[in-house]
Amino acid sequence: MPHDHPGHSHQGLSPSGHPYRPDDDHPLTYWQTMEIAIRELLVEKGETTAEEIARQIDAMDARSPANGARVVARAWTDPDYRARLLENANAAAHEIGIDIGPLNLIALENTADVHNVVVCTLCSCYPRDLLGLPPDWYKSRAYRSRVVREPRAVLHELGVDTPADLRLRVHDSTAHLRYVVIPRRPPGTDHLSEDRLAQIVTRDSMIGTGLPRAPE
């Protein structure tokens, strides 16, 4: 709630120029009530514990695009691994110690002729177990509706130009599968170690809306 302190107010803009986020002073929604009821019942019946739930939230928050970047860097440096990744992405992730849980993963390889980009037009399906939480724009109606209708225009706005002779493949995660894009390895990276290569693999390059960082 708005209140006064000596020296500053929580109304208007913060010292860094951003609006303050309003407090959530409203009644619980139907689904919030449902979530609390089910969670408390599960705890009460001994199916799970509050600590276990907190640990699981921690584990999900700890997942980051760094896991996907390791997979990509290995695929760039080991052609046999790349082949196994394209054949069975779940097994390939597991092989280098990344547990992606029950996720059904497909790896999509960008080449000189094909560029892949991933969306979930129905909601926000995303390979969270591999890449962590999706960016907010991935869940926006604008991205979800436009990238299947005018993917080249969307990619251009995001700084990725797609020449006319490059075939664009959009992948709509509509049901049980999740997708990770294997971006093209940038030129001038032959001298980089696998660890250094992983550092130039960006989250967006694994969605297909960006490219790996240029090596320093």
Partner: protein, 89 residues
């Protein structure tokens, strides 16, 4: 399952994982994914009998007609078998 398929142009209510923009459109089966619980039943507490799921590839020309941004670009989506019928063309 034939390689050329058409998405059934139905509009049932419920938790349907077939996007409306692909209904009635014809495409090619890119790969079979195996059988998964039918979300149209699972979402309502049903057991969700396993249904075969396919990745189907559509050209932008098929989906968006003359207004396609680039007709030969494609969109792939996962479609359950009960939403697919053989394409007659």
């Amino acid at each position: 399952m034939t390689a050329r398929v058409r998405v059934r142009a139905m509009m049932p209510p419920g938790h349907v994982r077939t996007p409306a923009y692909l209904r009635g459109k014809a495409g090619t089966v890119e790969r079979a994914l195996g059988a998964f619980g039918n979300p149209e039943e699972v979402a309502y507490g049903g057991k969700g009998g396993k249904r075969d799921l396919y990745r189907v590839r559509f050209t932008m020309a098929e989906v968006w007609g003359a207004g396609a941004e680039n007709p030969t670009d494609t969109v792939d989506a996962e479609i359950f078998a009960h939403w697919l019928e053989p394409a007659k063309d």
